[in-house]
Symmetry: C2
Subunit: 161 residues, 2 copies
């Protein structure tokens, strides 16, 4: 499977696409190094309180956000699904570490792809849902704004790597 041939279903999936002026290996580093993720992941003025990544299929993917008032928002541990260095990272909120199914209010899987594009990266983040109702709920909760702001922060951070 090439990094971009994931079949996109507009009735079930949400996507952020961006041409980024940073090469794929730096975008990859920003996404897969917990100390880096803590610097950019959470849209301001929220912050990332904790990040744990065990970068292998079945490994943990966990981010805890913190509100400006200091409240921590722990959405539980997700699971790394696929690791294709510098090209594709997939993880899901529907499984925990060790591929253990979890109850989730908003189960989705995230497929992050990074394709070389000139000196930069064609970046794509897809959120995959099981039903249109869940996709709609994610959209109404501010997917485009939230993941858009995340991506802005990712680019700004990765430029400094």
């Amino acid at each position: 499977m090439s990094p971009t041939d994931h079949p996109f279903d507009p009735s079930l999936d949400l996507v952020i696409e961006r041409e980024i002026d940073v090469p794929p290996h730096l975008v990859w580093a920003a996404w897969t190094t917990p100390e880096h993720v803590k610097q950019w992941f959470t849209p301001k003025p929220f912050e990332t309180a904790e990040c744990e990544i065990d970068l292998r299929p079945g490994g943990i993917f966990r981010v805890v956000m913190r509100s400006p008032e200091g409240e921590e928002l722990d959405q539980g541990a997700g699971c790394i699904l696929e690791v294709v260095e510098h090209r594709r990272l997939a993880w899901t909120a529907a499984l925990g570490p060790g591929w253990r199914p979890v109850e989730s209010d908003l189960p989705f899987s995230a497929i992050i792809t990074m394709e070389p594009s000139g000196a930069g990266t064609r970046y794509r983040a897809v959120a995959v849902h099981g039903t249109k109702a869940l996709k709609d709920r994610h959209e109404e909760a501010g997917f485009q704004e939230g993941w858009g702001a995340m991506t802005d922060q990712l680019v700004e951070f990765a430029r400094r790597l």
Copy 2:
């Protein structure tokens, strides 16, 4: 991760372990080739009506059983999680193809490991659940009998490969 270092939680997981007098690559072939799976997967007198396997992370894993009365039992498509040739196959009922979360009555992930043991295989099939209630339900639905019979049929089939 070695094939057997999956952390087993007896309060959440169910397991079948067996020393098999067939080498790992034949057990692997029996588990990963749809035409083979159709010969052994479903405990008799039920049969396997259909089997579809796309052997890559994110690929489909789907088996349709058929009762002696001819009723087809389609539990929906699962998703391949990990493919380590001749050693470990993981799939889940909690995601569909492309890692799309699905509603499942009995969400679990299956981790099948095959370790060389003399001329044969130390075989382990673990069903991983999110809660004790789901583990108990799987157990009460006949996990040991069902997966035990599957494993007997798997061994009998693999010996003829």
